[in-house]
């Protein structure tokens, strides 16, 4: 099922004017705070009525302001997970999870036991929300939304209120969710690494407008977007790889389309597919294969585009086998090396520059 979203609304501070499609799998809505991400979620869930809009889930029209159609939230079947978990304080975890079941028409969808097992919340069922940790509460909130038999899952920065350890605890569950259900997921976030791990498609919002929409690897390696993607320090690209070998000195050798890539130990089976986010500022460029250098990863690449910044920096987009890689260097280096579109170069990446949080499983959906 494909979901079609088109919204216009005039706020005091800015005007929202967006249109995008939501295919199966995770579609991330990305942008700085104040870009209108949460307003989009609210409008999709029916918690806010936009001035103009059309939202269609498959054949069902949820909102059509021209025809005066505006389904109330309880008739839209949009499972919401909010930044604050919004669990019902007077109900147990089991009752919270079952709440949506009362109202969901028919049986379909995932079973209670499946959801409990997938999110690892069986030991919590008899407890009350107040006695749970932040990560546990958010897992229960995700389960509650799933069990309401939704046709779309809408997640509004579900991990933003959690510390790094809790995020790392929940991300694998979200990966399961993405791969084990067929529900389109709209995932709002301002974290590049979360989106890199989870999403297949990303819609970049800025000041109420869609700046770019497309596959994650393509959008995140677009040098023209890096100012919007949380600034140049956050810029980075995503490459796909498979685990080739676990080596004796604690390194994992990955196979990429451009050659081997050594990373600090990745806990994954041989042959497992991975997505690795590589920060642009961790990539060095050389016109000849460097010798006598500590960096283990030296991969041949070709310059696809160059973007000179206003300051001293330059963003270089490279083709690396079948992937796109982003490198942030200085303008002086770009001049000195004589880089132009089509130049062959070597991309140099320190093994220890890649953090475990930047490595995830790719979506199974094609």
């Amino acid at each position: 099922m494909t979901v079609q979203v088109s919204l216009q609304h005039a706020f005091d501070a800015f005007a929202l004017d967006v249109a995008f499609e939501l295919p199966a799998g995770v579609t991330a809505l990305f942008g700085p705070s104040g870009a209108g991400k949460s307003s989009v979620i609210k409008a999709v869930a029916g918690l806010m009525r936009p001035d103009q809009g059309l939202i269609r889930a498959g054949d069902q029209v949820l909102l059509d302001t021209d025809k005066g159609i505006n389904l109330p939230p309880h008739r839209r079947r949009i499972g919401c997970v909010f930044q604050d978990d919004r669990l019902f304080p007077h109900l147990t975890v089991r009752q919270n999870l079952s709440y949506g079941r009362w109202f969901s028409p028919g049986k379909g969808g995932v079973s209670f036991d499946q959801v409990v097992a997938m999110l690892g919340i069986a030991p919590l069922l008899a407890r009350r929300p107040q006695t749970l940790s932040g990560g546990e509460r958010q897992r229960v909130a995700i389960g509650r939304a799933l069990l309401s038999n939704p046709q779309i899952l809408a997640m509004d920065e579900p991990l933003a209120a959690l510390d790094e350890a809790r995020k790392a605890e929940i991300l694998p569950y979200l990966e399961h969710l993405r791969d084990q259900t067929q529900i389109p997921i709209l995932y709002v976030s301002h974290s590049v690494s979360e989106i890199t791990r989870l999403a297949g498609k990303v819609v970049v919002l800025g000041k109420g407008r869609v700046l770019k929409a497309g596959p994650v690897a393509e959008v995140f390696s677009d040098p023209n977007l890096s100012p919007w993607l949380g600034g140049v320090r956050e810029a980075g690209s995503v490459i796909t790889a498979t685990v080739a070998a676990q080596e004796h000195d604690g390194l994992t050798r990955l196979h990429t389309s451009a050659g081997p890539l050594w990373l600090p130990r990745v806990d994954a089976a041989i042959g497992a597919a991975l997505r690795v986010r590589i920060a642009a500022q961790d990539v060095m460029l050389a016109v000849q294969r460097p010798e006598g250098i500590s960096a283990l990863n030296i991969l041949p690449a070709t310059v696809v585009s160059l973007r000179m910044g206003d300051g001293p920096g330059a963003m270089v987009q490279l083709r690396l086998g079948e992937d796109l890689l982003l490198a942030r260097i200085t303008r002086r280096s770009a001049m000195h090396l004589g880089l132009t579109v089509g130049s062959p170069v070597f991309a140099v990446l320190k093994t220890v520059a890649v953090a475990p949080g930047d490595i995830g499983a790719p979506p199974i959906t094609p």
């Binding site: 869930a45 029916g46 918690l47 109330p72 939230p73 309880h74 008739r75 839209r76 079947r77 949009i78 499972g79 919401c80 909010f82 604050d84 919004r86 669990l87 019902f88 304080p89 007077h90 147990t92 709440y99 949506g100 009362w102 109202f103 969901s104 407890r127 009350r128 929300p129 107040q130 006695t131 509650r144 939304a145 309401s148």
Partner: protein
């Protein structure tokens, strides 16, 4: 019937309990409705409604009683129609219920309104996205969450009704066995020479009932709050 109270005294105590319980239960649904309207809704005349609800709290009770008499007396502009339907409130125990309910209403509404304002509307929104219609959201989320406020409001209203004197005596007078409530009886005993011991016994009853109501409400709202917070 305890023999340390005379039949007249016992009748006054029983009548007061009956009047207060009826006043509390009859005004509770309206109290919840008004508290909700004041806490959540924006509508024309909201401040007027708020003022009307609070008026009995700030007017001299005798004025409220007199206004009730003008309105609900047999010749009053509402009372005459009630009279045609065979309903008479003035100088009846039912009138005492009305007087007690009106006087206790502001306390009830204030307590419930505070608890409604404390409910996070975002939690109710979450329930609606899970498929609950507004009626179900109210029944399964809002009502359980404001239950402590409802209990406190009801007990406050009951205690206020037990002690109501001015409006009651003005609207329904002080007829032993019919409209003579506990405070009216105490007042009557104090008006006759040698009535002090009787008055004092009723004062003790009055203190006991008020304390019992207070303790009960504390216990009940704590128990409910504990169930909600899961501590």
């Amino acid at each position: 019937m305890p023999d340390w109270l005379s039949p007249d005294e016992w009748r006054a105590v029983a009548l007061s309990l009956r009047v207060s319980l009826w006043a509390t239960f009859l005004s509770l649904p309206l109290g919840i409705l008004v508290a909700f309207a004041l806490a959540r809704r924006q509508f024309w005349g909201k401040q007027v409604l708020n003022g009307l609800v609070h008026l009995p709290l700030i007017l001299p009770p005798v004025v409220t009683g007199y206004l009730l008499l003008l309105t609900f007396g047999r010749k009053g502009f509402v009372g005459q129609y009630l009279d045609m339907m065979g309903v008479v409130l003035a100088f009846q125990w039912t009138g005492a219920v009305l007087a007690a309910a009106v006087m206790a209403f502001p306390l009830m509404v204030r307590a419930i309104r505070l608890s409604v304002e404390a409910v996070d509307a975002k939690v109710e929104q979450a329930a609606s996205t899970l498929g609950a219609s507004p009626m179900w959201v109210f029944a399964t989320i809002t009502l359980p969450l404001i239950l402590p406020g409802i209990i406190v409001g009801a007990v406050l209203a009951f205690a206020k009704a037990m002690g109501e004197f001015g409006a009651t005596i003005t609207f329904v007078a002080n007829i032993p066995g019919q409209t003579q409530t506990l405070p009216s009886a105490i007042y009557a005993f104090l008006q006759v020479p040698g009535g002090d011991p009787q008055a004092f016994r009723l004062v003790l009853v009055s203190i006991f009932v008020a304390m019992a109501a207070l303790v009960l409400s504390e216990w009940a709202s704590k128990a409910v709050a504990r169930r909600i917070s899961g501590a």
